[in-house]
Symmetry: C2
Subunit: 321 residues, 2 copies
């Protein structure tokens, strides 16, 4: 991760400048709220993938920085809307923007950032890039609606879970990598990098979902239990419930309904996810996708950026330990 | 209005087909919800302006229909988000989508339609059109946030009210007219039609705001009082309060706080808006903008479409009687 950051640090500085400049508005609430979330210590994973993909495909082009900033704005807009949809009070251990400014402001500033993302993409001058990202934005929204419709479906098939993750998370990584590659001016590496991005996104989200139950360790950090409290149906839950006793099944069916949870439920959920091997099984799923991501990079000529992307796939799954 | 509809009826049929096709999704909730609002009996004012502007500028081009559909999707996405922000239970006398499907679905399907709008615009093949509409989308979101920040400010200056209306409503009419003109392949009429669109949008929204208090007539229809119940600070209120006695001012300050309203307040509000001449003053403001809209059309060569746009400006203010 640090190696990747070092490799693109100059590009990233330009992207950070764009992010700050384009979150500006004479309407004070907009820079206040977007500044709060844009600078909330996110890892800038999507711009990093965009920039490294451009480098690995031949070098950054005139539109790469604007593209990387646009990708981060799309992600930020999604986070703002997610917080309202999920009724989550915290984001990355900090009060969610909507807890400070309210739901309405979060919705509208999300819309603002989404619109700004498109203005940035127009500046890349590439209709192909606009097509890729507008399509990805559609797929993300579809994925979010699909996740909403899956609420309370504790017998969610693994395939449906994966389809949701692919849409709501992996589609943006895929688009960022593909468009990043194209922004270099060369189309040859675009398919390989798109496959990398998609599989990286899958691995990343699946790991996130198991980390929400503390992974396989005993440590219960600040950010554990968000999905549980929101009643989100994720892979560790689906597997633990599938493998559980009738009594365990009844527990999951009650406890994943936010209205019927009590305080001791999270500890029991974590215990069951470990005892049934659901944590390991989920991690194995993530590792498989990280492997596919690394494998996709094989089609590219060796380069420091290809290596850094490869390491990033490892990093995503190593966050578990 | 009917004349305009007749003039572009073939184009409009193509646009309706696009609207139906592009609201499609394998995720059932998306076509259900968007079908509900897209076919909720809207007047399709923005696509009509887009199509007529293209005709008045020289004729529809290959991208005009996609553009007109994109403009309607942007408008629809805004409506879906507005309903959540305004906490309104009704839209055009029908249950708001969010009352049927919930806030989360309204937010996410709004995002979906917004993304689809951009995909449609990519199909026009014009970066200039994408630039105009992405910029307008930014301005709309800014206007909505500005309106949110104005809540409870009963001493809102008329200039600030007009700036909000220009951003949240007129910007899309302006962009639709300008981009519609450009989609004809000729740039000569774009500025005049943009000025027309902006002033039409201003007139239209100001009329809407006075109609929410029943205009100058005694009829209290189904859709009267929405803004009042949401505590929205609009021009008729600002003028009536400014012209009112200290007792009236105290009434407005209490009654425009949704939490402190009671049932008889709307009738008193309507009475005060008429008694102080605030309704007439607001209508005069709208008529001035309708006049500017008509005037802007003077720069165009005479044509049936120019005439229909001129009539539309009259229609907007004649809705009052």
């Amino acid at each position: 991760m640090e190696r990747l950051q070092a490799l693109v640090s100059e590009d990233m500085a330009a992207v950070e400048q764009l992010l700050a400049a384009r979150a500006a508005s004479p309407v004070a609430m907009i820079p206040d709220l977007s500044g709060y979330i844009v600078s909330a210590g996110g890892k800038r994973l999507r711009p990093l993938v965009t920039l490294a993909s451009a480098h690995a495909a031949g070098g950054v082009g005139p539109g790469t920085h604007a593209l990387a900033a646009a990708v981060e704005f799309i992600h930020t807009a999604t986070l703002l809307h997610d917080d309202v949809v999920d009724e989550s009070k915290l984001r990355r251990g900090k009060a969610a923007a909507k807890s400070v400014w309210g739901n309405s402001a979060s919705i509208l500033v999300g819309d603002f950032l989404f619109a700004r993302a498109f203005t940035l993409m127009v500046e890349t001058g590439s209709l192909e890039i606009l097509d890729i990202l507008s399509h990805a934005s559609t797929v993300i929204a579809e994925g979010e609606v699909r996740q909403l419709a899956a609420q309370g479906r504790l017998d969610l098939p693994t395939e449906e879970y994966l389809a949701i993750v692919e849409a709501k998370t992996a589609a943006l990584f895929e688009a960022a990598a593909r468009a990043g590659a194209l922004s270099s001016g060369s189309a040859t590496a675009a398919d390989a990098l798109a496959a990398y991005g998609k599989n990286l996104g899958l691995a990343f989200q699946i790991v996130d979902d198991v980390l929400d139950y503390g992974g396989t360790t005993q440590v219960i950090g600040k950010s554990v239990g968000d999905d549980f409290r929101e009643g989100k149906v994720t892979l560790p839950v689906v597997i633990a419930r599938r493998r559980g006793s009738p009594e365990d099944k009844a527990f999951w069916d009650r406890a994943l309904d936010p209205a019927r949870q009590d305080e001791s439920d999270l500890a029991r959920a974590i215990r069951l996810i470990r005892a049934t091997g659901a944590a390991e099984a989920t991690i194995a799923e993530a590792q498989a996708y990280a492997g596919l991501a690394r494998q996709a990079l094989g089609a590219l000529p060796p380069s420091p950026h290809r290596q850094a992307l490869c390491d990033l796939a490892d990093y995503c799954v190593s966050r578990l330990n």
